[in-house]
Amino acid sequence: MNTCSVCNASFETEEGYLNHVCTTGFKPIDFEHQTTLDPNYPAISESALERGSKK
């Protein structure tokens, strides 16, 4: 079972979870989904990319 902690919807398969349109208006596979939930997410992502580029 896969449950979305944002909208509490449950799905038999992970694919079902990944492709549902959440209360954010986006799917969990969409970058906008995370940026809607957490305004810090773009900065978190940029930091991750910066660390990756240094390696």
């Binding site: 990944l18 969990p28 970058f31 995370q34 991750a48 990319l49 660390r51 990756g52 580029s53 390696k55």
Partner: protein, 172 residues
């Protein structure tokens, strides 16, 4: 360029009937096996352990990036009383990969015996992918399980609030 989309998931339930709770918003530890638990309702009994948490970093979409790796886990903030925070996460030989979910317990777990790093990120990766600390995710997928547990002392009378950090590097 499209950056990867990443979330934290917690698995609950039993070995034969797990539920993956995606995109969790907290990692409250307590005396019940549940995601997003209320620690006031389910406090750890002094002298006992919390139920272990089984959590993973989940890349839901790799975007145009080529790799996610170098996973680092740590905590910021003191624990209540003489409590300790144990985990399977660890650098180099301290790491014990847990790639399968088992029913969480509130007793000691073999190899969940490293002290959670505190305040600053560990120098090198301490959570693996595919069973080791050097593999990368190159498509959507999961890290190994981060298993962690609070161990209280019989004299502990108060809990605490602290912050868990889950860090990854992303290569464009």
């Amino acid at each position: 360029m499209a950056a990867a989309t990443v979330e934290i998931c917690e698995t609950n339930g039993t070995t034969g009937s797990p539920t993956i709770n995606h995109n969790i918003t907290n990692t409250n530890m307590g005396n019940v096996e549940s995601v997003n638990l209320d620690p006031v309702v389910y406090p750890i009994t002094p002298g006992n352990r919390s139920y272990a948490k089984y959590q993973r970093i989940h890349v839901t979409n790799i975007g145009t990036s080529s790799a996610i790796n170098n996973l680092k886990i740590w905590r910021t903030g003191a624990l209540g009383g003489a409590a300790t925070h144990l985990t399977n996460a660890g650098m180099t030989t301290d790491y014990t990969a847990m790639t399968s979910f088992v029913t969480p317990v509130k007793t000691a777990i073999t190899d969940v015996d490293n002290t959670m790093p505190v305040t600053t990120a560990p120098a090198t990766a301490n959570l693996g992918i595919g069973g080791d600390l050097v593999t990368s995710l190159v498509a959507a997928g999961y890290s190994d399980y981060l298993v962690h547990q609070i161990v209280t002392d019989a004299g502990d009378i108060a809990g605490s609030t602290s912050t868990m950090s889950y860090q990854y590097d992303e290569t464009a």
